[in-house]
């Protein structure tokens, strides 16, 4: 309960930063619109040649892309910068003040800096959702659409746990940037329906590094596809990953050597 309270206190202090990043707000808006436009064009090109992709139609694929951007926007706002900077923060000894506070040190390490200027991205994502819904051949129930949104937050927590585990390696390696770039690139697979990844790669991306379903599962739930089991599996994997991330963080902190 206290962790949630402090999370909101961090949101409040970071929101006060928004004025400092006014220019960034508009730049983010334009960049995000550009990227989203490029991917929509890519999907338009694919579906210009085929009717379905691994059983998904154009509107459905666009919906996966919309949930992907929503998931990415939330990650960007609440924790992305912290993971990118973590190795430097650790090597400069800036973790000192964050690990002596009577609150989750992992929360202060990875949700300390938030980027509310990235809220601009949500406007673009809302537009993308509207376009995806207009392209769907069926109507989505508001309840299931909301459940998809709820499941996106579970994906956000799962991704946070995965990044937390990777970043914790920095206590041994001093720099885990290469891992992070790798995982960042691998996370791009989440923007397409998970069914296109088959065989061993599909299993790895679903169960070992569970990234394939980050956006696909929320879309499947919204579309009421017959994949109820995967929703439970994703929730279960998230709980396991959260526990592993917390244990590994506590273990890694023993190696923290500060600086200066």
């Amino acid at each position: 309960m206290k962790t949630i309270k402090i999370f909101f206190a961090l949101c409040a202090i970071n929101f006060k930063h928004l004025l400092i990043y006014r220019a960034s707000f508009w730049i983010t808006f334009l960049l995000m619109a550009g990227w989203a436009g490029a991917y929509v064009t890519f999907i338009e090109v694919i579906f210009g040649h085929i009717d379905t992709l691994a059983g998904w139609g154009k509107g459905e694929a666009l919906l996966v892309l919309s949930y992907y951007y929503l998931f990415q926007n939330i990650s960007d706002i609440f924790y992305k910068d912290n993971f990118e900077e973590f190795s430097d923060v650790m090597r400069r000894g800036e973790l000192d003040f964050r690990i002596i506070k009577p609150v989750s040190s992992r929360l202060l390490a990875f949700c300390y800096k938030m980027r509310f200027d990235q809220l601009a991205s949500l406007v673009v994502t809302a537009g993308l959702f509207a376009y995806a819904l207009s392209e769907l051949k069926m109507n989505i129930s508001p309840l299931y659409f909301s459940m998809g949104i709820l499941y996106t937050t579970i994906s956000v927590v799962l991704y946070y746990s995965i990044l937390s585990i990777i970043s914790t390696f920095a206590f041994w390696m001093q720099k885990s940037d290469t891992f992070k770039v790798l995982i960042w690139n691998v996370s791009q697979v989440a923007r397409y329906p998970r069914q296109i990844y088959t065989g061993i790669i599909g299993k790895v991306l679903t169960f070992i590094i569970p990234i394939a379903g980050l956006a696909s599962v929320p879309a499947e739930i919204a579309l009421q596809f017959d994949h109820g089991k995967i929703a439970y599996i994703l929730a279960g994997i998230t709980i396991v990953m959260m526990a592993i991330a917390q244990w590994f963080w506590s273990f890694g902190l023993k190696r923290y050597s500060s600086a200066g």
Partner: protein, 324 residues
């Protein structure tokens, strides 16, 4: 009663040796030599509630490492450490609520926001009630005279103003122990004095235990009754500040001036002269002989003025570190 108990505490850091140059960097990709440096070696001490302790030592002596182990930032390599009945490295929230930390070279305030915003965040983190927060903030603001710049962005404050705000951030939850690592570093003389006066008064009125590391002997001299001198990771003195002079300064210095010219050779029989001419001299004399030598000077020489001084604490400590 002891609230900090340290027994045979050690901390060893690991690093890797890199040969110089590009070839060295390429070699380092395949193999590297691990270097172990013992920053703190087997130190032991106890601190009672309400004490104001000074940790003194040259750069790299192990002062800050010790402070970081006491506050739970660093995990000890070996030995026992207990603070307020807790093992600091376990980082129990009940323990963390009872101490504050200020580091002169790092800051916990949010750089782009006014200090007040950081205080509000700390209020939530330390679960300080609205009433206590207002009361403590009003008191500290008043004593430190910071009311005018609480709403100015931290990055626009002077170093002295920022340090005062750092102190408030560390004290808002009324900790029982305050760890201070070089809090006056880089401050001008007036700001140093203000911070010292505040700390002295705070320790006296609140009975807060304060552990201070500083390069400035003036900080230690004005604030700390007890001093722990640490060098190369080991404690070489732990005791009263006043006794330090008696223990390590074997000599006192007699400053004397004469109304008539005297022979320098006559003075040499009195002790080790560090300066001598026909009208004045400085003579280093063993502490136990000071009365007898002063007497001989007054009887045997045309003394115009005479005074006796202790060796400066800076000189004593520098001699200790240099192994003299």
């Amino acid at each position: 009663m002891s609230i900090i108990h340290v027994k045979n505490l050690s901390k060893t850091f690991e690093s890797y040796k890199k040969e110089p140059g590009l070839i060295g960097s390429i070699k380092g990709l395949f193999s590297s030599e691990t270097i172990y440096s013992q920053a703190v070696k087997d130190i032991s001490f106890d601190i009672a509630e309400g004490e104001f302790i000074g940790f003194v030592g040259p750069n790299g002596a192990g002062k800050t490492t010790t402070l970081k182990m006491l506050s739970g930032i660093l995990y000890p390599t070996s030995g026992d450490v207990e603070v307020l009945g807790f093992k600091p490295f376990k980082r129990a929230p009940e323990f963390q609520k009872q101490f504050g930390l200020v580091m002169g070279q790092k800051n916990q305030l949010w750089w782009d926001l006014p200090a007040r915003e950081s205080f509000i965040l700390n209020k939530a983190i330390y679960e300080v009630s609205d009433h206590d927060y207002k009361k403590t903030l009003d008191e500290l603001t008043d004593i430190l005279d910071v009311e005018d710049f609480l709403d100015i962005q931290v990055r626009k404050l002077s170093l002295g103003q920022r340090m005062k705000c750092e102190l408030i951030a560390a004290l808002l939850h009324s900790p029982r122990i305050l760890f201070l690592d070089e809090p006056t570093i880089g401050l001008d003389v007036v700001s140093q004095r203000n911070i010292r006066e505040f700390l002295s008064e705070y320790n006296r009125s609140r009975k807060t235990t304060i552990i201070l590391t500083s390069h400035y002997m003036e900080d230690i001299r004005r604030l700390c009754k007890r001093v722990i001198i640490i060098d190369h990771g080991s404690i070489i003195y732990d005791g009263d500040y006043k006794n330090l002079t008696e223990k390590y300064a074997g000599d006192k210095t007699i400053h004397v001036s004469f109304s008539d010219a005297v022979l320098e050779n006559d003075l040499k029989s009195l002790g080790r002269t560090t300066m001598a001419n026909s009208t004045s001299a400085k003579i280093n004399v063993p502490r136990k002989d000071i009365a007898a030598i002063t007497n001989r000077l007054l009887i045997g020489f045309p003394v115009d003025d005479i005074s006796i001084s202790e060796e400066s604490i800076e000189k004593i400590i520098s001699d200790i570190f240099e192994g003299k």
